[in-house]
Symmetry: D2
Subunit: 256 residues, 4 copies
């Protein structure tokens, strides 16, 4: 298999694990390791200079993960651009996971503001990974603006409902020239496998691991599921048939 | 994780890969290895003393896999019992995958004949792994008759439609005291992961690997998917929520 | 449209509404009327000579509905046959809705006992409408035994989960020569419409009407849904397409 | 039931049938009548002064239907506004079904242009019924701009795939203060019933009727399905239960 390439960098792992939702630093560390991820997201917005933020950042450094700051909790293009600039200065990276949400109840993206923010961030030389809804047109517009990856949701953040509209995800993937990363809404391993089978290049998770009963076990589950789904996408699955097809023969020849 | 125990024997792998549908011995060997399976099914019914049967059997011996003869293409309890006795003699194993199908068009199990055959085979000291439909009552009756494992279908053999009725599979698993092995109908990795998440103890596949465009790749895909699904079942997935839940915080504390 | 014909009798309505679950005689009467049904089921098993049974029966007579006694709460072929004979004597009808359930927790049919009871009841000159699971083989066996109609479940009784396995219902309908009546598990109007679109000849309901918040409104909802689903089955729906197709043209010619 | 009110006008029918896709004027007339619709859409864009457009318009007048011109085949806010102005002049109505699509292959809406067009059209005193994707945030933004109704798609135009994401439709309906009209993608009666059960105020169809094998039969099917789905939404369906619930009793009392 080819490595995943985003913004000119290669990744062996196709699972991106966020730090959001974690409740214990030790568990977070073990879960990050078990997931096999090479990149992790952190929310700059909620920076607390006295507190946990520094500890999480130290952990990311120790694990040699690429840090992907996000603009979580930004409600407008202007806020998102400001947050991205702060992140670039603080973390010395021009990578940004762009998130502009419409309100703090649905946490759904505001696509008009997201498109505007993407335009500005690309112009400011950011490598933009844009969180968005599952609308194939918006995905294409984000790509046309120069985003390095487009990250449609499977379901609203934190719901664990999986991929509510596989048809749209497949439509997005079919036309995309940049990596499509399924982001948000996944609940369990089969959801991640399905995302990869639909043709996504990677999967981004946070809640589904960090809020599981056993985050480390679930991190390993997702690592396997992403690998399995990727291989299944490459392996050329059997066609779906309406009617049965005997398997216990070898083209008419006998077995055993 | 605990090993899978069927009929007193332990298995590390929870993926059982059949030989059915294979069209090339080399590919079959590589696929069996890639799948990590420790047990494989063969159809005694189609024994051809001159031909491929012997080669397949030699392969199974060389790979040190447990052989699980099946009664594929039997249409009655009587035929199935006769076939099982022939298999016991020829292969020196009292393990049998019981399959009694209603016709060679749908390949669906005839549950009345299956129950009768199970009764007779248990009385004859077979270790019976019984292929059946997804009816929770029939599954329980097979267990009550003494079957070592019950193997409900996800969808008709060879269709690749996945698990048509997850509700039934979950109902079967919830009440079962013996291992439930999802058998038939799976098409791709996420189907296998889902089977394990629903609580199945293992997955049995043939067509989905052997008839894929790249059987070896797909065998590895299923190996990962079964492992991932099993871990997800153990890991305690997040609950499904109707509404969003922010992940980019650590219980209110800041991250980075 | 042709009328529905079961056991030589014609029905204009394709909705059969049961009395089960009703909590108020007046509501039951209005719901039966609103549903437009011409036949209704009653449970003989629970006959209480002092009580409500007589009132329900009088209501059925007044509304001139065909009575269809059922063998609800029978756990064996023997019980079902005895109950059917009692019903024939008490209600002067040789029609029987055959129900043999496996236990009073799942309320799922015991198909072995159901098949045996069907064999005996047909031999005793009953017109048998047999409640069963959604296994296409069992459905065919019931038809081969001489049942006048086969009544697969959509989901377990009283769950309101709709049709859990449309693939099986379609497979049953495709091969059947007798009417297939979807029985049990429906929750709302679209479930009933779907049953008809899959090719069922009729729908049987009780809980979904009698336990709704407004039984009379829901009875009318189901009346429309069954009519709509039937017409859709006859009308030749548009094919499902993966890609869009413009509608705002008349084969290239202009509109308006 | 209350009538449907859009832009201050009341409608008894909750089914809006378009003229798009029709291939025969007589069939179109009969289908419009069978559907019971009181309003129909026409595409101004494709006006052909010599031809069918006039005949269709005469038909709409004769049937006394409210005409709802649409901006089909407009690719920008500017085009849509111009088209709406032409329609207002030609048809003497300030009602407009706003459609701005992104390309003529997917026919998916361009939500940025749609929002801009809605803003301008409301400012010009149009009664705007806005076709959009199923994003709850965009739906709310259209409402906030002053649209009289918001019309999310079930699936891409002409696909007949039904409602790909019922969760989103339900989320849109839950927050909306204006009527939500399910528009595009429906294939059959149960799809329309489901739309109404999810809480939509009405359904708009064209292809599903006009391109069916028997448009008049299908028009009647949808009329019933919309009525049935609406009643089911009002009737208070039974809850979904994971486990069975006996129906053949009246709270413990007997039923003949």
């Amino acid at each position: 298999d080819q490595p995943l390439v985003i913004g000119g960098r290669s990744f062996q792992s196709r699972l991106i694990t966020g730090t959001g939702g974690a409740t214990d630093l030790n568990l977070l560390e073990q879960a990050l390791l078990a997931s096999g991820t090479e990149m992790t997201t952190v929310a700059l917005r909620r920076l607390d200079p006295r507190g946990d933020g520094a500890a999480v950042y130290a952990l990311i450094e120790r694990l040699k993960l690429q840090v992907l700051p996000n603009t979580a909790a930004c409600f407008s293009a202007r806020e998102a651009v400001t947050t991205a600039e702060l992140a670039r200065e603080a973390l010395e990276t021009n990578w940004i996971k762009l998130e502009v949400i419409a309100d703090d109840k649905t946490l759904l993206p505001d696509v008009v503001q997201t498109l505007e923010a993407a335009r500005q961030l690309v112009a400011r030389d950011f490598v933009v990974l844009a969180y968005t809804n599952d609308d194939p047109i918006v995905a294409r517009q984000l790509e046309d603006l120069g985003c390095a990856a487009v990250m449609p949701l499977g379901a609203p953040i934190g719901t664990g409902l999986g991929i509510l509209n596989p048809h749209n995800i497949e439509a997005i993937v079919t036309r995309a020239q940049v990596p499509i990363v399924l982001d948000a809404g996944l609940g369990t391993a089969s959801d991640a496998a399905l995302a990869m089978e639909l043709g996504c290049s990677a999967v981004l998770l946070a809640t589904a691991v960090n809020r599981a009963q056993h985050p480390v076990v679930m991190a390993e589950a997702f690592r396997h599921a992403v690998a399995g789904g990727r291989l299944a996408a490459l392996g050329g699955r059997v066609p779906r048939r309406r009617h049965a097809l005997a398997s216990s023969s070898m083209e008419g020849r006998a077995y055993l």
